[in-house]
């Protein structure tokens, strides 16, 4: 039997404590952060080095078995969903910081290091790693790279892809290649750029070189209350139009505020229709001037109250409240779906109104937490799985919201990725040829289709024979841009 031979090979490579074979233990890996999808992996490998990973990969090639990489398992699109006949390669043991170069503001780490540990490791040099997903205390940098993760402060500083300089990749055939470099623009195609955000489908990343930033001299934070998210959206547009580039602009609607307050008691006004968190940072003199302007713009846009959270403790509390938003939903409903879609910021009010209508039609509540600066919505669809049919209704509403974002000229995902969850929705955003081009690139890395199969791109196996409906981009529909 293939599996027992593979198991023997992997045992030779990893030793008994590096291989999980017992069903009960394997089962603990059956899902990532999107627990609606579950599948117990045939084997779980816990490599300690890049050599281990390459050897495991080669063994899987020999036995014709698929692999799925996994970081901390916090992904929200079932990107790390195991393959029932495959090996799950879990990177948690590869969590060393390999090199810090404070002078050039770079760090080299293994992929299992958590996002937050990186900033901790360099804080003595007044440096930090900028992308800050809310899950940063637990999620791995390898997972961040694979998802091109974002965070509240990505509005000004960019996403993971702007901070990954280079990496070491074990290809699906077991060979190792260095992509990118510690310098900018190493000669060759920017394959590093293709790898970031590829959701574990192009190989297993075993080492990452990151760019660090100097801590800003000043940070100023405010919470402005508004009657409605649409009114807060007007303020966001005014701030941006004034040429201010805030470090972060986050919004919560009333339902989200209620949940956060109960959970974190961060001092948000539970009667407010929407809370806007605006953070500015940078050189002190510039920051102060822009902050005063921001306060004025919020007032002019109809803010009902503004709280300036200037002392570090109060600021930390505001962010604790915001970052606890997902977890806090448990206070409002037994179950919820987290959606992740992007719309052009200028269409925020319109889009939220449509979401509210759709929620009313489905007789469900939707709380909204979002990165308002870049139009990245996280509608949370609340439901109670104890009520027959409610789960299905909620799931369908959540999926329709993502597709609504595409209709508005946005994207199916701003940061959580496509994974299994949205692979079958990809044809709503991309045409068959667009997807075919992506598939050609995938096959260049993984001709045998062995690395994280059935993720990201729709396959007949996953989605049935019929491709989903491609709806033209609004600009295309309006005849402004053309497909052909």
């Amino acid at each position: 039997m293939v599996k027992s031979e593979l198991q023997r090979d992997l045992l030779d490579i990893l030793g008994a404590d590096g291989l999980v074979t017992e069903w009960a233990q394997r089962r603990t890996y059956e899902a990532d952060g999107l627990a609606a999808y579950r599948s117990v992996p045939a084997l779980v490998a816990l490599p300690s080095s890049a050599d281990d990973v390459a050897a495991v990969m080669r063994a899987c090639v020999r036995h014709g078995v698929p692999v799925v990489p996994r970081g901390a398992g916090t992904g929200l699109s079932a990107g790390a969903l195991p393959h029932p006949e495959g090996v799950l390669i879990v990177m948690s043991r590869m969590h060393r910081i390999l090199d810090i170069d404070p002078v050039n503001q770079r760090i080299v780490v293994e992929p299992g290091v958590t996002n937050a540990a990186i900033s901790r490791a360099v804080s003595e040099h007044d440096l930090y790693y900028a992308p800050d997903p809310s899950s940063q205390i637990v999620c791995s940098i390898g997972g961040n790279l694979a998802e091109n993760s974002g965070g509240a402060h990505c509005l000004k500083y960019g996403f993971t892809t702007h901070h990954v300089l280079g990496c070491e990749l074990v290809l699906p055939d077991g060979e190792t290649v260095e992509l990118g470099s510690s310098t900018l623009d190493p000669p060759g195609y920017d394959l590093r750029g293709v790898l970031v955000g590829s959701e574990g489908t192009l190989g297993v990343v075993t080492k990452i070189t990151l760019r660090l930033l100097r801590r800003p001299e000043a940070v100023r934070t405010l919470v402005a209350d508004f009657e409605s998210p649409a009114a807060a959206g007007v303020a966001v547009s005014a701030i941006v139009a004034a040429g201010i580039v805030p470090a972060a602009v986050e919004m919560m609607d009333n339902l989200a505020i209620q949940a956060c307050e109960e959970d974190a008691a961060a001092g948000f006004d539970v009667s407010s229709g929407a809370a806007l968190i605006v953070e500015l940072d940078g050189p002190a003199a510039e920051c102060d001037a822009a902050f005063a302007e921001t306060v004025a713009l919020c007032q002019e846009s109809g803010s009902t109250a503004i709280r300036v959270a200037d002392d570090p403790q109060e600021r930390a509390l505001v962010w604790k409240g915001r970052k606890a938003a997902f977890a806090a939903m448990g206070r409002l409903a037994p179950d919820y779906f987290v959606q992740d879609g992007v719309i052009p910021r200028t269409r925020l009010g319109e889009c939220l109104a449509r979401i509210a209508e759709m929620a009313a039609e489905a007789d469900l509540r939707v709380a909204n937490v979002f990165h308002a600066g870049d139009g990245n919505l996280h509608p949370l669809v609340l439901y109670d799985s104890a009520n027959p049919g409610e789960g299905e209704r909620a799931e369908s509403l959540s999926a329709r919201i993502a597709e609504l974002c595409v209709e508005f000229g946005g994207s199916l995902s701003g940061e959580h990725g496509i994974g299994v969850d949205k692979a079958c929705s990809m044809p709503t955003m991309f045409g068959a040829d667009d997807l075919a081009v992506m598939d050609r690139v995938r096959a260049a890395f993984d001709p045998a289709g062995r690395c994280n199969p059935d993720k990201v791109l729709p396959t007949p196996r996953l989605c049935g024979e019929k491709p989903g409906p491609y709806r033209p981009h609004p600009l295309e529909a309006a005849g402004v841009i053309e497909r052909l």
Binding site: L191, V194, P283
Partner: protein, 446 residues
């Protein structure tokens, strides 16, 4: 004497000038039907970059300059969709009406460099320090592959992780993978105000200063070091842009204090607070015993420093001065500036050539302009400098060069690994299996 690539353009069996996506696709299909290879060109300013394309088949040229429209500008979302052949300076003029810009400042924009050409060559200027390169600003693309497949990736919103980020793959691919037809870009507000400071500094002093500035709270828009300081551009086309260039040759003398080297530091942002930031910067200079002088009145200073990176070459088939010039780009860590400069000057002295160095010091990107003597001496200089820079962990790529240089030195240098070439080849084959797009031009003979 014509450069081989310019020759390819002249000898092309067919030339296409599509104005729309459909026409671009037809051109690619027609070139395939005629069994030709395809050289894509915009303004022609970077046709010499990469290795000399080679191949058995005759050539078709696809000229993107009729793909010259701004398709859509959404000021509220700070995005724009543009055809790839639009001259960058025309795009900037249109965006400026809304107080916005595509925050890239490559050389040769005034000569008509196209948005798509800048993107496909991954060209950039000093302000990359503040805004990232063009690869960080292109959020969506529409390309035509050699078999006529039209592929779109990314989208029109800044934040988007749906599907592979192929926008980054096209960037820097020098027309060897696909014809880029349309691009959606992220825009920035034009800075309200800017300040400039000039500081005479040797390479060693400049290195220490640059690292200190990067470690300080002063956020610079540009952080450049040049030896010697770029003087007034000689090129008549540049002069024709109606920008007065006050001569800065006087700095050459003052620059002797710094061994002929100069730092140019630019700050941008909101007017309020800018004075305080300049003071901070001057403080850092003082700590290093360097004399910082404001240079705000000097119109055209940034232009001159930016254009210096491209040498004096640039135009398709340009004659004269550019003929004898080699432009080579090194990439290193910022801390290696002095070492890079030292290596260049030793290499130049040994081969009896003149070498100027223009460095995006904050980014670790350095352009050497080599003149004098003959191509063999240029080649020897590049080879010696490359050896030195590679030993530091960096790389050297030759951009513009005299015809005679080809064959003496590989413009790409040794690929870093066989695995990288193998993977790159498999990407090239997946997208362009018949090898029609500028075969031989890219790293690894792709």
């Amino acid at each position: 004497m014509m450069h081989p690539e310019a020759g390819t353009v002249a000898e092309a069996q067919a030339s296409y000038r599509p104005a729309e996506l459909a026409g671009a696709r037809e051109a690619v299909l027609a070139a395939r039907q005629a069994d030709t290879n395809v050289l894509v060109r915009g303004s022609g300013s970077k046709l010499r970059w990469g290795a000399r394309p080679a191949g058995e088949r005759p050539w078709s040229v696809i000229d993107t300059r009729a793909l010259n429209r701004l398709i859509h500008h959404e000021p509220g979302d700070m995005t724009a969709t543009v055809q790839a052949g639009m001259p960058l300076h025309e795009l900037q003029e249109q965006l400026a009406v809304a107080g916005q810009e595509l925050a890239v400042d490559p050389p040769r924009a005034a000569r008509g460099a196209t948005v798509g050409g800048v993107y496909v060559a991954n060209d950039a200027g000093p302000r990359r320090l503040a805004y990232g390169g063009i690869r960080d600003l292109v959020i969506g693309t529409t390309v035509v592959l050699a078999d006529g497949t039209v592929g779109r990736s990314g989208g029109t919103v800044i934040k988007n992780v749906a599907g592979y980020d192929l926008n980054r793959l096209w960037c820097g691919s020098l027309g060897t993978l696909a014809l880029v037809v349309e691009m959606t870009v992220r825009l920035h507000p034009r800075p309200e105000a800017s300040r400039t400071v000039l500081i005479p500094a040797s390479a060693g002093d400049a290195t220490a200063f640059v690292l200190d500035v990067l470690a300080s709270p002063v956020e610079c828009a540009l952080l450049e070091w040049s030896a010697p300081a770029p003087t007034q551009p000689q090129d008549p086309l540049i002069m024709n842009t109606n920008r007065p260039h006050r001569s800065i040759s006087v700095h050459d003398q003052r620059g002797q204090a710094g061994g002929g080297g100069w730092l140019l530091v630019g700050l941008e942002g909101r007017a309020a607070g800018l004075d305080a930031r300049v003071d901070q910067l001057v403080d850092v200079a003082r700590r290093h015993d360097l004399a910082a002088e404001p240079a705000d009145g000097e119109d055209g200073l940034w232009d001159a420093w930016r254009e210096a990176h491209a040498g004096t070459a640039g135009d398709d088939g340009a004659e004269g001065e550019a003929e004898g010039e080699t432009v080579a780009r090194a990439a290193t860590l910022p801390s290696q500036l002095a070492d890079v400069a030292g290596g260049l000057h030793r290499a130049a002295d040994a081969s009896g050539v003149e070498a100027r160095l223009h460095s995006h010091a904050g980014l670790g990107l350095h352009d050497a302009i080599i003149t004098g003597a003959d191509p063999a001496a240029h080649a020897a200089t590049v080879t010696a400098w490359r050896e030195h820079v590679c030993a530091l962990g960096g790389s050297v790529v030759v951009r513009d060069r005299p015809d005679g240089l080809d064959g003496l030195v590989d413009p790409w240098g040794e690929p870093r690994s066989a695995q990288l070439v193998k993977l790159s080849r498999s990407v090239k084959r997946a997208l362009d299996p018949e090898g029609r797009f500028a075969p031989g031009r890219f790293l690894g003979g792709l």
